[in-house]
Symmetry: C2
Subunit: 642 residues, 2 copies
Amino acid sequence: MFNKNKTDYELDLKGTNNLRGLAIDMIHEAGSGHPGICLGAAGIVYTLFKRHMNIDLDNLNYINRDRFIFSAGHGVPLFYSVLYMLDLLTLDDLKSLRKINSKTPGHPEYKRTPLVEMSTGPLGQGVGTSVGVSLASMFLNQKTNGLIDYYTYVLCGDGELEEGVTYEALSLAGNLKLNKLIVLYDSNNVTLDNELKASSCEDIKKRFESINFNVIESNNDPKSIDEAIEVAKNSHLPSIIIFKTIIGEYSKNAGKNIVHGKPLEEDDILSIKEQLDLHKTPFTISQDVKDDFYETVLERSREISKEWDKKINKLGDRTLIDKIINEENTFDLVNLDIDYENKSLRDLSGVILNQVANNFDLLIGGSADLSSSCKTNLVNEEIFSKDNYSGRNIYFGIREHAMGSILNGLALVGLRPFGSTFLTFSDYVRPSIRMSALMNLPVLYIFTHDSITVGEDGPTHHAIEQLYSLELIPNLKVYRPFDLNELIGCYKEIFSSKDPCVLVLPRDNKEISNKTKATGVNEGVYVLIENETDNYVSLISHGEELGLVLKVSSNLRELGIDTKVYSIPCKKNMKKEVLEKIRSEKTIGITLGVSDYFYRMTDNVIGINEFSLSGSKNELLEHFGFTEQKLESKILEYLNKE
Amino acid sequence: MFNKNKTDYELDLKGTNNLRGLAIDMIHEAGSGHPGICLGAAGIVYTLFKRHMNIDLDNLNYINRDRFIFSAGHGVPLFYSVLYMLDLLTLDDLKSLRKINSKTPGHPEYKRTPLVEMSTGPLGQGVGTSVGVSLASMFLNQKTNGLIDYYTYVLCGDGELEEGVTYEALSLAGNLKLNKLIVLYDSNNVTLDNELKASSCEDIKKRFESINFNVIESNNDPKSIDEAIEVAKNSHLPSIIIFKTIIGEYSKNAGKNIVHGKPLEEDDILSIKEQLDLHKTPFTISQDVKDDFYETVLERSREISKEWDKKINKLGDRTLIDKIINEENTFDLVNLDIDYENKSLRDLSGVILNQVANNFDLLIGGSADLSSSCKTNLVNEEIFSKDNYSGRNIYFGIREHAMGSILNGLALVGLRPFGSTFLTFSDYVRPSIRMSALMNLPVLYIFTHDSITVGEDGPTHHAIEQLYSLELIPNLKVYRPFDLNELIGCYKEIFSSKDPCVLVLPRDNKEISNKTKATGVNEGVYVLIENETDNYVSLISHGEELGLVLKVSSNLRELGIDTKVYSIPCKKNMKKEVLEKIRSEKTIGITLGVSDYFYRMTDNVIGINEFSLSGSKNELLEHFGFTEQKLESKILEYLNKE
């Protein structure tokens, strides 16, 4: 029960201190962890949850809940402690911090713990994704007649504001005036290695003003924290609150970098508890604090629930919101109408993407300033901007990394996001692609200009190793179709599943084969040309180069050499038995990228294992031996050696 | 000869226009390219080279030359035109723009064209690297008694200032007060897809003031450009000059994004030439302009050369500067003195790195805020800071991407740079690692915490796919030693070569085997345990897991099963014959990462092909089957199936 004998302020102070105590006990029990932030930022987390977070304790998936993203994920014991105070975790859970398969892993993990909105750990990802989560709220607000209006809070530290991805994403947030995004900046002037000043002397206030943020300054006192958040909630711009905190506050090493990343010594813990008037027995918190916290949140929770029921009942068309609530975010690709004459594969991809968009209102996306090259503009849709939050075309700017992290945010809220750039620049997006894969989010990356056939732009623009390096990421489905038929198959797979996906496309290829099949994509591989005898050589290939392989196959037949041709539009979909079957054949792999891609299936790969050159497509194909004549010679050479 | 009949100002205007004409002719002839920036930024490039760049036309490698980095590399025809006016390229070269093996590729390519300081193309890399080039000048200034004092100019556009890497790198430049760094910002308010405002509304002046830059504003007039550069050169802070330009100026599409990336139509070219009073015949420029430009630069060049001779003759100790000039940047690792008791491999790496540093004055480096974890602090050296430019420990901050691009800059000037972070965060550095590899620069990346054995920090911190994805990058040598002996071998190889390298280390492993060999690293592979009979199974492994493999090998022998054990500390050093020999044996690969790593050598790999979990090292090894018992069972199972 709410304790009427204490003032709110005293309870907040006490509650914050109890949170500190729990967190350092957890870290001590675990034998590893990060006490510095837990002691420093306890007040921010405590006050946010007690006084502001709109959540529904009876329905944790409440779709309009405020989102809290713990971007500085190493401080997560603080958050677990809050969950304990809300009866969403048990004391045993707290004691299992960092143990395998517990609900309390070392960094927040999506779907493992209640109210953990996303996995964090790699600095900056949480901040980037919070922009996507906030962007989704603005979009859904428009699409639901104002029903969706949650806030997105993200907690980050000094280190994260050094990461390029946070700068990219927040600059976009400023441009889009995402005013329900609130960055809670735990400003303690210390990083792991040193004081912040060793690496940075930024005027943070000025920096954020320059990117169109509302900047609020606060100390670490519950009242000040509360007021600062209140101001931020009423801002017409996205806000950052600079909370001046002390890393490891109350520890003997307070204010020093050494308090960042390992458990405190026992005497230090005892001294802290004494200073804060906490129980000496580990994991013991004051019941009045817990009751007060729980009751306060519960009361708000019940009101929210009632309000929501009222509001949603007033809503005319519930279709979209129900789709989001029920996670019905797949789409059946049928009734395509494609005029394919003289169109490149990326053009055709644009046509299909647009037909999907016309019938699938959860689809939203954009490009890192290459929508015109990657053909990912949705022609019947408007631009998402500060003046039009219902647009479905997002202009990310030349911010590939932020694009990835923002797509993750859109997917977390239940949309089906896509983003595009050139394949070679997928390297810039990679840390966020890994997060898509780790959280298994239905994000679609469309990477065009997939190899040396880009031509004159040269080696920096020619993807050699990217295809395979993406393939190596667990969970991620990488599709690379040869022509329209396979492309349709890829899109069917992509939108009927909820997998994180990459679609890789060439710049120019316009070929359409009468032998390719959309249905071949499902298994990842299929036979394009069957062998006619028992004495044959198998050619495995994919993407644009399959056109060349088909020609060479036909030439070889004229020379009396029987061939079988496999198309492999999605290696990860291949079953082990098929891989082994192909390996048991006399097989040659042909790829316009690193040979490694096909080594699991054959030792004989004709690939490109060096950086490319600037030159025309044909000059380059000639240079690297990908002409009919040269490829044929290489195959014959191999057959003669056998 | 210098034309005395024209005023300087008129000649500058005319020269700028002639540059415009050449550039659009080149793009027209090539059939592809980017005229927008060439028309807009011609004045900046022209004025910089005519009036400011200190280069020595008789010695293009002059070590104290001012560096000009064309970060917005797609505008390179402008630069090639300047080189033509300096007789460093021919008209034929200009006409070969974007043709294979020409001196004039589509984007600047390091070592292909005179005075091209680095390859650019992926936006932001040039800016990041310019910070490294400038940092090197401050460092060498201290080490050469003021002899080295070149300026670093970097030309970039709107798009690049959206990239996280430029923000990261320039923020560091501000903190370090690299006042000889001058950013020439071609501010035309247009990006490829749209007007800049679709993706950004940054107050650039404020943004750069917030990161400790001197901000100068200029229009596009030769006089204003000249004065702005002059102001920048005298600044005590790094400078950015915001040049207000018009993309595709004088074209019928001036100011629009469509003028960015394809050749202009013929009538447009003719109209531009008419407006600018240029020869209609392609590739024809005014002789007076060429003469004036050439003579002006030559005059400065001769003075510079004379001055330099004077200065260097006054310098007492020429050792360091001669090393740099003669590119003697390798180091023989001998006379190591290592107390290896109870030290983890990363500790031992720190010991060796420090011994190298003590004897190799070109070594300089740092960490993305993990020097204490990666053990890359140079204990006898000071911190590089605005107050001490002779420090050899660089605090990059949590700016992994910038770190990579800055290391490239340090290497370009002739130093031997290293940088460190955790292996899983190598994803953040990847675009810059690719540039190290593409330019074949002697950069060393030290990535520790190399697999699931990191433990409790969980899946975001556990590298599963990174080792192999790095291995896929052409030119890049990836070393992963098992113990001290192999580590020594790795360091010997790294510092005796000039290859871009990655050294991958575990967090904890302290084992030292009496069977490992430093000399095994050279070939990339060697036999750790020889088979005793002809009926044996080969186990291939690497890194920390080799310890487990050795134990299992010994257990299997007790069971009467003969094994041969290969250690593979550097896959890329392996010869094809060896790969094939291993494949011809009955072989099992064992790796704490994606199985793909060993597929070239065997179909049977025991690896980890999913994201990891938060848990203790032992919990995780148990979970993934990397205990003696479990590994033994798996091997026996495989042998029984055979």
